[in-house]
Symmetry: C2
């Protein structure tokens, strides 16, 4: 393979965008990223999106967005792994440029969740026959996992509050975050309404709209397009048994462990080299389980990292450094692209008030469904 | 890039499979292809499927099928380009192995269209806002294009009958074809009922269920898995303006021309080198337009190749050599994988009664929507 770098990024503010359509949001991110790279054209477009089939009645979205962005003619493919679709698109973009068959590519993620309720479409990330037919949704499955965790380790669900507090604190200095102007206290979190007990509102990422894009190029050509290119040091995907009931240890995200292990191997790095971790805090329990599965905490102790503020900007392993899924927002198929943009900000010293003092290696992870797919990327300057 | 070969294939008979679920069909194809390669494991699974969101309420199908096939743990991603989704998955499998980051991959296509009517879900390959809202479906758009063709060149729609006749004749010797046991005469075709005039039943591929898979490996390791590996000489995708109304020449499939031109360049071949062409005869008009766009016929004359049997097994450019989409069947996301399996049969001299005398180079092409995406592969022994 040839090494691949990110040479440009572009993020739209995450909002409820009743003023713009899905295609317009996606095309704006594409054009923004190309302009940032000083490019008018690229060879290919890879798209992350999960919900357009149901929410916008569109199953041919990559070609549609390529056209809307003025790029009709290029290769354009949609890549999916349910709630990890943005990372899946980044994975394919990386493969394409690494292969040498594609020289420059834009990877764009877009989701517009405010057009109609996404709850039923989101549940299709689970097993339609054996989980959804029994009543499962993404919310109920995460509530079930959280309850199991609390029972197994004998802790109160209140102990997860630190995840939301950290995310909201960090979002305050990120103007594109959905909750950039919201002050959230521990009291706010602990008194928020139950969604599905023990899940409270502040354990869950919000419904929102957004689009973000990165331009990829071969590392040895990256300086043509950027003064501060960022290398993709690893890109991996792994799966687990699909249904929660089939996993011998439902609190151990095996796909997170596998995907991270392969990523460390690919990058020639270890856990200790990772300076910060943009993980998939769609639910606070998922953030906790990822910290454990990847190795930042022992089983049953991931919540302590939040409770003791070890996930904060000054902590042992900063997460959600610009707000995370919880407070920056989680427009599903766009999320991993937002994370990639944020990691580029940290690694290039442009993260403003939230700049980490020593950011050399950043890791990103996305969770598909209840952990059936997990995708990891590692980036370095 | 490193060269990539197909080292094993597996096709399920195309039927209406009321006895088996989507996941079971997909997993059977995966296991069959792995067994044919003598493998128990591969590094990755890339899936082509278009309709599972609506027809099976499933949006996380790659991980589900990996698990069902006993491969939980591996990378598994879904790739989409509407009705060209199978070819899109093959494209990504090729990129993955070519990159060196993935060594062996299974590319599987699966579609189960008999669970409920696919008509509305199929229409989502078009523009929901500007085409479908005005009443367009895949059927009506192809009828519109066919009418335009007949008007522009002053020919009768009956002149397209040769496409169906060729496909059905070739399917008679392919036991896995949906219509393997059906005798179709010119009278059958010309007297068949109108679906959307001028489209008759025999201008349209049938609704059916199927799954097919290929195993990919680096060419320099291919003989470990196969005595007769087949090289992927080119893999390309291109787009056109998304909406039919935006194309200056709606009868010219520019994405087919672009994709084929890039493929010839990648393979270092010309049109004259192609011995047979497994094209996307979902509608007879699409077969005609591809023959013209790729260069096998001048504009307005593609139908002549069918009328004069130049597309037959002894003709100048054989197409649909084992039945094509029309008569082998067109389980959407699986179709390009069936085509790849058939090209391997021709190139390895195992196509039985339908064996072409001199089959050295085979080309495959898939059409997404009404031509917004077109994907081309070229294979050689």
């Amino acid at each position: 393979m040839r090494p691949v770098s990110i040479v440009a990024t572009y993020q739209l503010p995450i909002r409820k965008r009743h003023d713009a359509s899905l295609r317009v949001l996606g095309a704006e991110a594409v054009r923004g990223a190309l302009a940032a790279a000083g490019l008018e054209q690229v060879d290919a477009l890879y798209l992350g999106n999960m919900l357009s089939d149901e929410l916008q009645s569109q199953k041919h979205l990559a070609a549609l967005i390529a056209d809307e962005a003025g790029l009709a003619g290029i290769e354009a493919l949609l890549v999916r792994a349910a709630t990890a679709s943005g990372a899946a698109a980044l994975r394919v973009g990386h493969l394409a440029v690494a292969s040498g068959l594609v020289n420059t590519a834009v990877v764009v993620g877009v989701e517009k969740m405010s057009d109609q309720s996404p709850v039923l479409a989101l549940a299709k990330a689970l097993d339609a026959r054996y989980e959804v037919l029994e009543g499962a949704t993404m919310l109920s499955q995460n509530a079930q996992i959280m309850q199991l965790y609390c029972d197994q380790y004998g802790i109160s669900p209140d102990r997860f509050a630190g995840f939301a507090l950290n995310a909201h604190r960090n979002a305050r200095h990120n103007p594109i975050a959905l909750f950039h102007d919201k002050v959230v206290t521990e009291e706010t979190v602990l008194n928020s309404r139950f969604i599905v007990p023990p899940l409270r509102l502040y354990d869950c990422a919000p419904i929102c709209d957004g689009a973000a894009a990165v331009v990829l190029a071969p590392t040895d050509e990256a300086r043509r397009y950027s003064d501060l290119p960022i290398r993709i040091l690893a890109s991996t995907a792994a799966t687990d048994r699909f249904r929660l009931a089939d996993r011998p240890e439902p609190l151990h995200l095996r796909a997170a462990e596998r995907s991270a292990r392969r990523a460390f191997q690919q990058a020639g790095l270890t856990l200790e080299d990772v300076d910060f971790f943009e993980l998939h805090d769609a639910f606070s329990i998922m953030a906790c389980l990822q910290l454990e599965a990847v190795g930042f905490a022992e089983p049953g102790t991931g919540w302590r990292l939040a409770a003791e503020d070890e996930i904060g900007l000054q902590g042992r392993i900063p997460i959600a450094t610009l707000g995370g899924l919880k407070a920056r927002g989680h427009p599903i198929g766009a999320t991993a692209l937002y994370q990639a943009c944020e990691i580029v900000r940290q690694l290039t010293g442009t993260a403003g008030e939230n700049q980490l003092p020593a950011a050399h290696i950043g890791m990103q992870q996305s969770v598909g469904g209840g952990g059936s797919t997990i995708i990891t990327h590692i980036f370095g300057a």
